[in-house]
């Protein structure tokens, strides 16, 4: 390949990384944490109740509580039932109240209302990943655009490294700082190439799908919206205005299981409840299969199956598209797969950091850029750890207030970004690592202090998710503390030698 082409690609690779690298880092790092959105729930709520699975009687009683509470016994209303999982031991029913959306929680065994617990910390972290906390849909489009940028970086990076096998195995830690960063950047980038490519591609698709899928379908069906909807969406509701008795939700779930064997129901969406044309859509996962939320649509009055949406059994387009979401969110393989994704996702973060470090190791590196990089790279984990701890210790009303908690998170981000200007990049990095380590290592203490006598159940089967979060937080905290102290020692040694602290 001609040298001029390679130089152009090098410019593209480096400038795209330099300009958008830190935003990409925020998306990647928050994505790693957001992977464990569900798993962090019990820790966040201090919830060590045993998971008994949904009891049909309790489920139906919970729905009855909701529809009785709505005018005209809930006729014609829409609501969504979220079934309990090992990480959320309540039945949650979402519907629209007089003052806006309402979520009510019920005990899955008795169907009696239970108070909502927990903070919105993980919701904020998920929104940071999907929308950068910007208004929808613009934040989503921006993140989709960053997916394209990441795709560009991945492809241009591969073209630049023509000696792939040699580069993948080369790591010279006995050479200059810049060479170390370069070798690490190449090794992590090349070995994780399929992962980085998949995340970039699926992220770009998910970012723009709300905008482009509808128009593309209209074009593909040559403007025939009815055919497009019939082919690509679950059957809709045609309300008749006639009242009809509804089948219990538990019975509808059972019928859905017969229509689509292997489905593990997670959500039931009921539309036009109480109307003879009401439709229930039972959605869930088929464990071990790479397909997004297959569903069964039924008549809520009779239980007759209206349609089964399982794109893993469709044509090539449907099969490929159905893989996009599970591939991005690691929803097809349980906790172990999420850990694997988290490690590889950490690799994506490392690629951004190492790429920027290569740039900073150049002569005439700008201090402003280095301070900004340090502030974001080390400040974001500190702010996230702070948000998680705040969600656990704050008053329940504040912890459940998304607006207030988002402001608190942004407040936590500010000192992180400002710290390097006050203390110097290297010292700030060391101190922020120590801060992050202390907050994370405090996870088990928060469980014990917050849970009182109940926290002793943490070590039983029922408390396994809480214990896992505690142990993971503690170990990650110790790691961050050790890293921070090592950075501090390195800094002191350099100070003793009279060297600058720039790297």
């Amino acid at each position: 390949m001609r040298q001029a082409v390679l130089k152009s690609l090098y410019d593209l690779h480096s400038w795209v990384g330099l300009v958008l690298g830190l935003i990409l880092y925020i998306v990647c790092f928050s994505g790693v944490v957001a992977l464990f959105d569900a798993e962090l729930g019990p820790w966040d709520r201090g919830d060590v109740r045993a998971y008994g699975g949904p009891a049909p009687a309790g489920l139906d009683r919970a729905v009855a509580h909701v529809v009785v509470g709505i005018a005209d016994e809930g006729r014609g209303v829409n609501f969504t039932v979220r079934l309990p999982t090992p990480y959320r031991q309540t039945v949650a029913v979402d519907h629209r109240g007089a003052d806006g959306p309402v979520t009510e929680q019920f005990d899955p065994m008795t169907g009696e209302p239970v108070p909502s617990r927990g903070s919105v910390s993980t919701t904020i972290l998920t929104r940071l990943h999907t929308d950068l906390l910007l208004p929808q849909p613009w934040g989503r489009y921006l993140v989709g655009g960053l997916g394209i940028v990441m795709l560009l970086s991945v492809i241009s990076g591969v073209i630049l490294h023509r000696k792939i096998i040699r580069d993948a195995f080369t790591l010279r830690l006995d050479r200059s700082l810049r060479l170390k960063w370069t070798d690490l950047h190449k090794a992590v980038g090349l070995w994780g190439l399929p992962f980085h490519f998949t995340m970039a591609l699926t992220g770009a698709i998910l970012g723009f799908v709300g905008l482009i899928l509808m128009y593309t379908a209209v074009v593909a069906f040559k403007g025939d919206l009815g055919s497009a909807a019939a082919e690509m969406m679950a059957p809709g509701v045609i309300a008749t205005g006639e009242a009809a008795p509804m089948m219990p939700v538990s019975a509808l779930i059972e019928m859905a299981g017969e229509a689509l064997p292997g489905i593990v129901p997670e959500v039931v969406m009921v539309r036009a409840y109480g109307d003879s044309g009401a439709v229930a859509e039972v959605m869930g996962n088929v464990p071990g299969s790479l397909v997004y939320y297959p569903s069964v649509s039924l008549e809520a009055a009779t239980g007759a199956v209206l349609g089964v949406t399982d794109w893993s059994a469709g044509g090539i387009g449907k099969r490929v598209y159905a893989m996009v979401t599970p591939l991005h969110y690691a929803s097809y393989g349980g906790f172990a797969l999420k850990v694997l994704y988290a490690l590889l996702g950490a690799g994506s973060c490392f690629l951004v950091v190492s790429g920027l470090s290569i740039w900073h190791a150049r002569p005439h590196g700008r201090a402003t850029m280095q301070h900004l990089t340090t502030g974001v790279v080390y400040g974001l984990p500190l702010a996230i750890a702070g948000l998680l701890v705040a969600g656990r210790v704050a008053a329940p009303a504040f912890a459940a207030d998304e607006r207030g908690m988002t402001l608190l998170f942004l407040l936590f981000c500010c000192p992180g970004v400002a710290w390097p200007w006050l203390r110097g990049a290297a010292r700030a990095a060391s101190e922020m690592l120590l801060g992050t380590g202390l907050l994370l290592a405090a996870f088990p203490a928060l469980t014990i202090v917050g849970g009182g006598a109940e926290s002793y159940q943490v070590w039983g089967v029922a408390g396994a998710p809480v214990a896992t979060a505690d142990i993971a937080g503690f170990l990650l905290g110790l790691g961050a503390l050790a890293w921070g102290m090592a950075e501090g020692r390195r800094l002191r040694r350099r100070h003793d030698r009279g060297a600058d602290f720039q790297d």
Binding site: R2, K7, G147, R175, V219, L290, I316
Partner: protein, 187 residues
């Protein structure tokens, strides 16, 4: 995950790790015979990894899981066989960075990005209309291919040595795609 599938993943991961270590060792051997044997054994073991994972988990889950394990294994082998020691010249930095003296075409990056966005959308609709598949599949395949089209066009525009020709070509393709969409949609 059931137990046989779990062991299949473990076996696939270990085979891949062993294979990568053998490949790494083979690439370092001076003797051509040892080098060839190690590379052959490493390749066979690495190839056995995905087969084992796919047998245990099915191709759709087994393949991504194996790719993830192979990535971690590869990084582990690279780190384990890294050249360690004190930097021979820690203070020395490259005097001449690769792009020194050459203005970076930041505006060209932006122009390529915008031009590629327009081109890729036109091609997205053309694919949705003309791919030899049922309509729903056409739409979904086009949506999945679209980010790659966008990125591919940016790379082409930015790396092309005859830039005017490249921009002209992409503009012509965009126009053609738009016309074909209008013809297919309205005609």
């Amino acid at each position: 995950m059931d137990l046989p599938a779990f062991w299949a993943v473990v076996a696939g991961g270990l085979a891949t790790l062993g294979g990568l270590a053998a490949l790494r060792g083979g690439l370092r051997r001076a003797s051509p015979r040892l080098r060839a044997s190690a590379i052959a054994a490493g390749t066979a073991l690495v190839a056995a990894g995905p087969v084992t994972a796919v047998v245990g988990l099915g191709w759709d889950v087994g393949l991504p899981v194996w790719l993830g394990l192979a990535a971690l294994g590869g990084i582990a082998v690279t780190v384990a066989t890294a050249r360690v020691g004190t930097a021979t010249n820690p203070g020395r930095r490259r005097v001449e960075p690769r792009s020194a003296g050459r203005p970076v075409r930041k505006l060209a990056i932006l122009a390529a990005f915008v031009m590629a966005a327009a081109g890729s959308v036109a091609m997205l609709f053309a694919l949705a209309l003309w791919l030899p598949l049922p309509p729903a599949d056409r739409a979904l395949v086009a949506v999945v291919l679209w980010p790659m089209l966008w990125a591919g066009i940016v790379l082409y525009l930015f790396a092309a040595s005859r830039r005017r020709l490249a921009y002209g070509g992409v503009a012509a393709l965009t126009g053609l795609a738009g016309l074909s969409v209008a013809y297919g949609f309205l005609g």
